[in-house]
């Protein structure tokens, strides 16, 4: 115990250690993680189902089938209706709010843990990184499940509206790339849903995690949720 020596600088943790700590934490908190993740899953499921549904409608319109089968007013005109654009934007907003909210909750209930880690020598940056890693995994997993649920929902709806024809014209790949984000094809859409979920989860947790990491440990540990 050499006490007269000046106080050294804290080292950065290797990335692998951070990864290991975040995995352990996710594993033990599995039940709790699922609840947080459920928020992401729901948001993305909604987004993907609306989006996929839209693509299915477009694909069937182009095939000329949809107007035969359903005589709905809007589907007569080609392309994307304003209503659909609105739906997609609305579902995106629901998704952003839902995910931000569940990440905020997840970080807030762990203030004490953050304070404790800082007592043990954690740097602020480490705390933030830990939360980014955890929320990134959660975001991706939750969004993937959500995307699949959304897809299933859209397929069921499509079967109801168009019957088995749905599968002949199923827009798996981008049909008309020039239509941009509204005709991506379902595969790309699912991938996009996963990325959106992951990014939103990371953004949603990074702000509260950063704020918590900046707090002096005494204050972080006082917070009771």
């Amino acid at each position: 115990m050499n006490q007269r020596t000046p106080i050294e600088e804290q080292i950065d943790l290797p990335f692998v250690e951070s990864l290991r700590i975040s995995f352990q934490s996710l594993k033990i908190r599995f039940g709790r993680s699922i609840i947080t993740t459920a928020g992401i899953t729901l948001g993305i499921a909604f987004l993907v189902s609306v989006w996929t549904n839209n693509e299915i409608e477009l694909a069937l319109q182009e095939s000329g089938r949809s107007s035969e089968i359903t005589n709905l007013d809007e589907s007569v005109e080609q392309g994307i209706s304003t209503k659909d654009i609105w739906l997609i934007i609305m579902s995106l907003i629901v998704c952003v709010v839902g995910i931000a909210n569940s990440m905020l909750m997840a970080v807030t209930e762990r203030f004490r843990e953050i304070g404790t880690m800082k007592c043990l020598g954690a740097l602020d940056g480490f705390v933030v990184r830990l939360f980014l890693l955890e929320s990134g995994f959660q975001g991706f997993a939750g969004a993937l499940i959500g995307a699949l649920i959304g897809l299933l929902g859209a397929v069921i709806l499509g079967l109801k509206n168009y019957g088995l024809d749905l599968f002949f014209y199923f827009p798996l790949l981008p049909a008309r790339p020039e239509n941009g984000p509204f005709q991506l094809g379902v595969l790309l859409l699912i991938l996009l849903g996963c990325i959106i979920g992951m990014i939103l989860a990371i953004i949603g947790s990074s702000f509260p995690a950063w704020r918590a990491a900046k707090l002096p440990p005494a204050e972080a540990m006082r917070t009771e949720v």
């Binding site: 050294e8 600088e9 080292i11 352990q24 004490r112 007592c119 020598g121 740097l123 005494a218």
Partner: protein
Amino acid sequence: MADIVVKTEDVVKEYRMGSNVLRALDGINIEIQRGEYISLMGPSGSGKSTLFNMIGALDRPTEGQVYIDGQNMSNLSQRQIAAFRCHRVGYIFQSYNLLNVRTAHGNVTLPMIFAGIPDKQRNEKAEKLLDMVGLGDRMYHLPDELSGGQRQRVAIARALANDPSIVLADEPTANLDTITGREIIDLIKQLNTQQGVTVISATHDLKMLDVSDRIVDIRDGLVERIRNREEIEIQVGEVGGHE
């Protein structure tokens, strides 16, 4: 010259709540020598935990200076403060503050992970420390699966992970029954005598009195008086008489 580990100079801490200012510490001056066992005593709300936080660099004083090992804490960078908390101090809290997501063993290794100690070495050390506090057979249990006394033992083992020169304990026995509390006090005292660790403990617990070298009585954010060993012994006798 005596070897001073902790020195506070006119330490003031104010808490602001809206337009109210609460002066929790009102100019604290104390000097603590290496190897001492110090108890901070005083009524609830007198400022013990606030002082604890100042000495342990868990919060910054509003005014005044804290010197640890001759270093002015307010001159340290973020990285130095993190290293200070990691290497020089071990913290023990009333509510244990274990990480619920890590086993007893995982809690003890964490400060060593932060210190960059290699895998094998830190696992062995954690086992050794948990053995020492009497939890050799509970190492891989989660905190939820342990009793209060056992959790506090884990916290003690964790506090010792990086061989700190100071152990800070904030009411370590407040949540424990008399016998378990006694065991925890004996364990902390043992570290103090056998390893020369300086112990600073906030407490209400009269059982702490007879292991302390000095008692600092805090009242309304001020040091009311400092009693040393001999005075304490007389008073412990009195307390014993009342029970």
